[in-house]
């Protein structure tokens, strides 16, 4: 059985180590022979093991579920671990996700940004009563469809691809990004979260929130989890305009953040 001759992949990697004095951003090129079923995870580890042990990148699950390995693959944000080389041309350009703090080479500290975003949007369930009435009792029922709908939005893996693909955030670093807006949509759906629309308006009712989004849809088109970002951002926009324009909205529960205003 003769197999077709494997391709020689040319991998161009944008490298820069801020910890090394005098280092300048530059491109290193590596040549790798393609193998069947090869992903960029395999390629990068091969480079590290056989060509350049100092090459920095992040993988954890290597299965497309932990969100560690976002990078620019031929300019487009994506998860390296779940990108088969067979779907790419022979020459592959890799660069770190822009916008996030650079650790070195392809490794960025997007976890830190996500943490800040989560804190700012208070992405947890806000109960009026913090404690369960009793941990021993049957749980509150929830509509099965609603539960699935919430999970649908809960699937975000905080990989930051949507942020890297967002033109708005490049110009306004305080923008919460699609990932943040999606989280608000998630909590808004969830009946366990007792925040009102007015509460959400406090969090995203400005240019750093939903009104900052210019509907460029980079987020929608790169999200590796295919979250319904376009649809949910539109939904939030409608809701937040309604809230903002509604003179009757006077009630702000401000469950937890009565004093503590979100920082922008």
């Amino acid at each position: 059985m003769s197999e077709p001759k494997p391709r020689k992949l040319k991998i161009n990697i944008l490298r820069y180590d801020p910890h090394v004095v005098g280092d300048e951003p530059h491109i290193d090129t590596f040549e790798i022979e393609e193998a069947p079923g090869m992903t960029l995870f395999i390629v990068l580890n091969d480079i590290r093991e056989h060509h350049d042990a100092s090459l920095k990148f992040d993988f954890v699950c290597r299965a497309g579920i932990c969100g560690s390995c976002g990078m620019l693959i031929n300019g487009k944000p994506g998860l390296a671990c779940s990108t088969l080389t067979s779907k790419l041309p022979e020459e592959i350009n890799l660069a770190p996700l822009p916008f996030f703090e650079l650790i070195g080479d392809l490794s960025v500290y997007n976890g830190k940004w996500m943490r800040g975003m989560n804190e700012r949007l208070e992405t947890w369930i806000h109960h009026k009563e913090k404690e369960l009435r009793s941990i021993n009792r049957i749980e509150e029922p929830m509509d099965p469809d609603l539960a699935e709908e919430i999970y649908e939005l809960d699937r975000c893996i905080e990989c930051g691809c949507c942020v890297a693909g967002c033109g708005t955030i490049q110009m306004n670093e305080n923008f919460v990004g699609a990932v943040g807006l999606n989280k608000i949509a998630r909590y808004k759906l969830d009946p366990r979260d007792e925040r009102t629309d007015a509460d959400y308006y406090e969090l995203i009712g400005d240019e750093n929130g939903v009104f900052g989004c210019m509907t460029l849809l980079g987020c929608e088109d790169v999200c590796p989890k295919k979250l319904p970002l376009q649809s949910k951002i539109a939904y939030l926009r409608r809701q937040m305009v309604k809230t903002g324009l509604n003179e009757n909205v006077t009630k702000c529960n401000c469950l937890q953040h009565e004093e503590k205003m979100p920082e922008h």
């Binding site: 300019g75 490049q170 509907t215 324009l245």
Partner: protein
């Protein structure tokens, strides 16, 4: 006063920007068609003009109606521009970051936004001139007067550019409006988006063709006018 800590202003601004954009775009959708009536012959255009001057309603011509329309449009125009200008990169640095992002990314909708910014920016000047002229000289609209302006007034280069700008801007704008507010999402919003994008492309093509054809007609009428005194031809 409400207890919203946050200002309501952003909600108003976003809403108004879209509303003015929508109205302007709908206006343009009609406007170019009306202009295109010239393609059916000077008489059709004449009738159209008369219609807008209220001739069929009041039995006499009131160019003031056109002036009024122009004023409304210009208000919308100014408000829209003022709101939209907030989104335009305000510093060179911002512009460069965005441009780099756009080039690297090669993402159509992101690039389309840039088209909107550039065309919007251009219309800021071109459109202003055009509207101003319509406002101060409403009575000078008509197949021959317009044609004369186009040719002798050296307006055709301006109209040519304006045509491209306004058509691109309006239809990209409408497409984005639909996505922005989640209109026509249907069952599968991803499919709807693809369809809308196809409609947007088709509309841009059709309108540019109509626009070019009408402009061409004006030019040819205008060139022929050199032999015919305008006043006579008009009345």
């Amino acid at each position: 006063m409400s207890k919203l800590h946050h200002s309501r202003v952003p909600a108003y601004l976003d809403f108004t920007q879209s509303l003015t954009g929508l109205l302007l775009a709908l206006f343009i959708v009609g406007h170019i068609i009306f202009e295109g009536s010239i393609l059916l012959g000077p008489d059709a255009m004449e009738k159209m003009t008369l219609f807008f001057e209220g001739y069929y309603l009041f039995g006499e011509r009131h160019p003031i109606i056109v002036t009024f329309l122009a004023i409304v449009i210009s208000i919308l125009f100014v408000v829209h521009a003022a709101l939209a200008v907030r989104k335009i990169p305000s510093t060179w640095q911002q512009y460069r970051t965005f441009r780099n992002h756009m080039r690297r990314f090669g993402h159509e909708d992101t690039s389309l936004w840039m088209v909107q910014v550039v065309t919007g920016f251009a219309m800021f000047f071109l459109g202003s001139v055009h509207i101003y002229m319509m406002m101060v000289n409403p009575e000078k609209i008509g197949p021959y007067l317009s044609a004369q302006r186009v040719v002798e007034g050296w307006m055709w280069p301006l109209y040519l550019v304006l045509l491209f700008c306004v058509v691109l801007h309006a239809f990209i704008g409408l497409y984005r409006l639909a996505l922005k507010w989640g209109w026509f999402e249907g069952k599968n919003y991803r499919r709807s988006r693809k369809i809308m994008k196809r409609i947007m492309r088709a509309a841009i093509a059709v309108y540019i063709l109509i626009g070019l054809a009408s402009l061409g007609t004006y030019v040819s009428i205008g060139l022929n006018l050199e032999n015919t005194p305008v006043e006579k031809a008009e009345r």
